[in-house]
């Protein structure tokens, strides 16, 4: 059992802290409040307080135990870090805040609400009709958005104007389905559509009004503490079909007063469809944000990568989508690039952490001829993962989205965060689909769970509480080349997705089994030790998010026979989607994510430029660069159109960064010089680096052009400088033909020449 060293300032107490310490802190807090009141009422003077040694002359409370909640009592109680080792620091959960109360409510006492399925409408219902170029029809601008200036007008659509930001291939791939969402402060959900019958949703009655709260016995969230798509719980699910382009119209109905945000969050939005193979104008570029009272039309064409160069005649049924009648609509592109599980979330420059934490996150399930969402249809192409069979495609009965995230709330139960915890923010309570430690009723059969880590800074590692087996079928939303039998997952970095299949047929009605988090965090900077199931469930960890957080209750045998394919392959795994083959890489680049604490040369002066900057150092073609902060006006790399490159990602010491590269799935060639594990041998879009780790991967740049991003998906890191922009030249032109930077304002987007272009970008 390690002991945590004294860290006076950073010391915040967790729920698992020694009871005496919590009491002492509470007393201290009360004492401080009393002094504050006494002072303000003139009962005592500052002079008195200074004289008594309670104040420094500067008017600051002295660090006396019992008076200051951040100082240990004199008895010298120390923290146990739960046997974790892992660097300790576990006591700083939640980061910068006091523990979140649970109001005497028992865990696993509420049903887990399944995602709320977004309505798919004909495009004709959209008014105004969508268009290739941004709709610049003018409307009055609310003076609150522009510092009180009156009489100004701005465009109704926030997308940058003109040809460069027009939807690419809009005439070739016209939208066939409209999905319209409005981000607004939270309200009760009176039109919840879980997409399944009530027995498959733990008995929740969808007709009942669903208030925005993390547990039915917790307080309802104030309207501006939670901002979500359509303003309601639970999170939203889009059901997408390859070859069926979608127009996702996103309205911003947030308050126009920037301070009306419940203490965190920013009213400008930009929506990233993670990790869609779409044009840059639809990627949620961090600088292409839109304002309250505007909308932004995102064109999600749902193409297979390589569609402009591979299988262009659409002859292979494996490259295809369900046609709605048991057949396949064959599509151009590489079937090896078929994806299954995305999410979509806000990507606002420097405010992604706050907005996503606040609720701006949903998921997209992608349906294809391979991964059809129908477990019964046996055409030799369909992989028949657990789902259901009532509909031709997109059955959700046994195909369940889980959005797992740590949260924190204040003494009134209102969601809160420490926005200045720049090194990483950790909550102290686990939520699934925004519900605190729920249960989920399951039949004794196979279920697919599409698990998303939607945290700000927290890593997870999952197991079942009985240590039993399950099968990983996907990573980052892509079905693996071969399934992997596991008793616990690898680490799950922020924004990573693991698709797993659990076979509950081994349980009897009335039994329960919990999904357990084994990953103890060392701090907001990096994960600590992965505990064993027994350690994690013993309650001894100082990290309150370790342990069981979702209880499966087995309710009995399934009403119909399970017709899904067993993905365990008797322990050997089965083949799902083999990896695509890459063309020869034409370039190499290195990106180092660090504060560069350790100079790379012994000469202090020559290493100065790279020592001490927090951000990303880009080295193009071996030309060592500087470590630079986020500036979306800077172009750090310009891969050529229709080429492939090898990128090396390096992590610094004392940190772990899950790096997300937008646009197209990559493959890990090596991790610290070795082959990647089977679970991360498929296609990926988030790469955990590990402290001092190196990941080498290969990528392709094809089909679309424009400006994309690469960043740490610990969103606290991302927002505070660990983000860079790279461009694919639209016309496939060589070097030095860069795209101007959009500058978004309520009165419209203007363009500026890039601030900076790195040498040999």
């Amino acid at each position: 059992m390690g002991r945590k060293s004294e860290d006076r300032e950073g010391l915040w107490l967790s729920d698992n802290s020694d009871k005496a310490r919590l009491r002492a802190a509470e007393n201290a807090r009360r004492n401080r409040a009393e002094i504050t009141a006494a002072l303000s009422h003139g009962k005592v003077s500052r002079r008195d307080l200074v004289k008594w040694g309670l104040f420094s002359a500067a008017g600051i409370m002295a660090p006396i135990g019992g008076l200051n909640p951040f100082v240990r009592p004199l008895s010298g109680v120390t923290f146990l870090d739960g046997g974790g080792g892992g660097g300790g620091g576990c006591s700083q959960v939640p980061t910068g805040l006091s523990p979140s109360p649970t109001f005497g409510v028992a865990p696993f006492s509420q049903p887990m609400p399944r995602f709320d399925v977004l309505q798919r409408n004909p495009v004709s219902i959209l008014n105004p009709a969508p268009q290739a170029q941004s709709n610049q029809t003018q409307q009055p601008v609310d003076p609150a958005l522009v510092g009180g200036q009156t009489g100004l007008t701005g465009p109704i659509e926030g997308r940058p104007p003109g040809a460069s930001w027009a939807h690419q291939r809009f005439a070739q791939l016209p939208p066939q389905v409209a999905i319209e969402v409005t981000t607004k402060p939270c309200i009760a959900n009176t039109s919840y559509n879980p997409g399944v019958t009530s027995d498959l949703n733990s008995g929740i009655n969808p007709a009942a009004s669903l208030a925005p709260r993390v547990h039915p016995n917790f307080p309802v969230q104030n309207s501006n503490r939670i901002w979500t798509f359509n303003g309601t719980f639970p999170p939203k699910l889009g059901q997408m079909r390859y070859g069926e382009p979608v127009l996702f119209r996103h309205h911003n109905a947030l308050p126009t007063d920037i301070t009306n945000n419940g203490g965190f969050g920013r009213f400008t939005l930009t929506t990233h469809e993670h990790n869609g193979h779409h044009g840059a104008e639809n990627d949620g570029f961090t600088g292409a944000y839109f304002w309250p009272n505007q909308f932004y039309d995102y064109h999600w064409p749902w193409v297979l990568a390589g569609f402009s160069s591979i299988n262009t005649g659409a002859t292979d049924p494996r490259a295809g989508a369900p046609d709605g009648n048991g057949g396949i609509n064959k599509l151009p592109g590489d079937w090896h690039e078929t994806m299954s599980t995305h999410w979509f979330h806000d990507h606002m420059f420097t405010f992604t952490d706050q907005n996503v934490y606040k609720g701006e996150a949903g998921m997209n399930n992608l349906y294809s001829s391979l991964d059809r969402g129908n477990e019964a249809l046996n055409d030799g192409v369909n992989l028949r993962m657990p789902s259901g069979s009532a509909k031709d495609w997109g059955n959700l009965d046994f195909d369940v989205n889980l959005m797992v995230a740590d949260k924190a709330w204040d003494s009134n139960g209102q969601l809160t965060m420490d926005t200045l915890a720049f090194d990483g923010f950790l909550g102290d309570q686990m939520t699934v689909n925004f519900a605190w430690k729920p249960f989920f009723n399951v039949y004794a059969r196979r279920y697919r769970f599409r698990i998303l880590n939607a945290s700000v800074s927290r890593f997870f590692a999952f197991a079942l509480s009985d240590g039993s087996n399950f099968v990983q079928i996907g990573n980052d939303g892509n079905l693996l080349p071969r399934t992997v039998n596991l008793t616990q997952t690898d680490q799950l970095g922020i924004a990573e997705r693991y698709d797993i299949v659990i076979d509950f047929s081994r349980y009897k009605a009335g039994q329960t089994v919990d999904l357990v988090n084994l990953q103890q965090m060392a701090s907001g900077q990096l994960p600590g030790q992965v505990l064993s199931v027994s350690q994690a469930t013993s309650g001894s960890s100082c990290d309150p998010c370790v342990g069981g957080f979702l209880r499966f209750k087995i309710i009995g045998p399934p009403p119909q026979q399970d017709r899904s394919v067993d993905p365990s392959g008797n322990g050997q795994g089965i083949v799902l989607i083999p990896n695509p083959t890459f063309p020869t890489a034409v370039r190499q680049r290195t990106f180092r994510f660090d504060d560069n604490g350790q100079p790379t040369t012994s000469d202090p002066i020559t290493s100065y430029a790279n020592s001490g900057r927090w951000g990303i150092r880009t080295s193009n073609n071996g030309i060592e660069g500087e470590t630079l902060s986020a500036d979306y006006g800077r172009i750090s790399a310009q891969p050529g159109f229709a080429t492939s490159e090898i990128w090396t990602l390096e992590g610094g010491s004392g940190w772990d960064h899950p790096i997300h590269i937008h646009f197209e799935e990559g493959q890990i060639l090596s991790r610290n010089g070795s082959k990647p594990s089977p679970a991360e041998s498929g296609r990926k879009d988030v790469y955990r680096l590990h402290p001092n780790g190196t990941v080498v991967l290969q990528l392709q740049f094809r089909d679309w052009g424009g400006m994309f991003m690469e960043h740490c998906h610990n969103t606290m890191h991302e927002d505070n400088a660990m983000l860079l922009r790279w461009d694919i030249n639209n016309a496939g032109q060589p070097f030095l033909n860069p795209l101007p930077t959009p500058i978004s304002k309520p009165t419209g987007v203007t363009f500026e020449t890039p601030d900076d272009i790195l040498p040999s970008a």
Partner: protein, 315 residues
């Protein structure tokens, strides 16, 4: 009776601890974000010897730009201060009215108000930018609460050039790097954090349309990134010399070394480099890791600008 507990505590503990640890402040009831209670109200001393409180006097209701520096820092700080001076110039007279710049010394024993004042002169710091010193413990605590603290063992400087920009009134805070692109910083501080209160939006036009740019001048970009914080070409002396005509006055080889390895020239007591070091108040030219290719681009740009300017003057 209300105060009984803590009065007892004070007398029982008998502790008198000088180092300030936490400020308390009547807490605003609504906001959960960083409000007054988050920011220590420590006392600091300006370059003019004036005592100020961090929250009450420096940041409350303002847009602020804060970095931690120390004047004897040789490597990052000069460029950090030079780049911030560029940001200040871009923001113009707003600095000092609605926008305030603060550089707080993490070496307060050495950095007395007088030392800070002479440092400011070296870097042509304009009004509205205050340099501060104070008690070491107060400053360490403050830097931790602001997310600007770096462990002294982290590098040769013992210091990371973090920059905190924020609008206290709206509770929006961003941490970046003081070394980064000044035009971007100015935009974030002046427009974005200000909510366009001081921008004449009706007048703002694009400098270019959205199409890809043609005929890009790489030298101009490199000069803008690496050099412009301290040098002009024909616009007079700044923190360093005006480089108009420098490609004729010095050999190419010397220029390349000065651009790429300025510290070596100083170590070797190169007479020109030494004279320049003295002339410009002992500000070391930083090594910004310029490659051969980039150095040649930069020289080419200075040549072209010199020629263009001379033609312009003669015409």
């Amino acid at each position: 009776m209300l105060m009984k507990n803590w009065i007892k505590l004070a007398s029982a503990s008998g502790l008198l601890i000088a180092s300030a640890v936490f400020q308390f402040f009547p807490q605003a009831a609504i906001a959960a974000g960083p409000d007054a209670s988050h920011f220590p109200n420590v006392e600091l001393i300006t370059q003019d010897g004036k005592k100020v409180h961090f929250y009450d006097d420096m940041i409350k209701g303002k847009i602020v730009v804060i970095d931690m520096i120390y004047t004897s820092c040789e490597y990052a700080c000069p460029l950090e201060t030079a780049r911030l001076a560029q940001v200040q110039k871009k923001l113009g007279p707003r600095v000092g009215s609605d926008i305030l710049f603060y550089s707080i010394s993490i070496d307060p024993q050495h950095d007395t108000p007088e030392v800070l004042k002479s440092y400011m002169e070296k870097f042509h710091v304009g009004p509205g930018w205050t340099f501060l010193t104070g008690k070491k413990a107060d400053i360490d605590f403050l830097s931790k609460r602001l997310g600007l603290y770096s462990d002294p063992s982290i590098n040769k400087d013992g210091h990371l050039p973090h920059l905190l920009i924020g609008n206290e009134a709206t509770g929006q805070w961003i941490r970046g790097s003081a070394l980064d692109t000044p035009s971007f910083q100015a935009r974030m501080i002046g427009d974005f954090l200000d909510n366009f209160k001081h921008s004449n939006l009706a007048e703002q036009k694009s400098t270019t349309d959205g199409r890809p740019l043609e005929n890009f001048d790489q030298g101009q970009y490199l000069f803008g990134r690496q050099c412009i914080a301290c040098h002009t070409i024909g616009h007079g002396e700044s923190i360093g010399p005006d480089l108009l005509g420098v490609t004729q006055a010095r050999s190419r080889q010397w220029l390349l070394r000065m651009i790429q390895k300025p510290e070596q020239l100083l170590d070797e007591k190169d007479p020109i480099a030494t004279a320049l070091f003295k002339k410009y108040n002992g500000v070391r030219m930083p090594n910004t890791s310029v490659s051969d290719l980039e150095a040649n681009y930069i020289i080419g740009y200075i040549e072209a600008q010199t020629a263009a300017r001379r033609q312009g003057i003669h015409r």
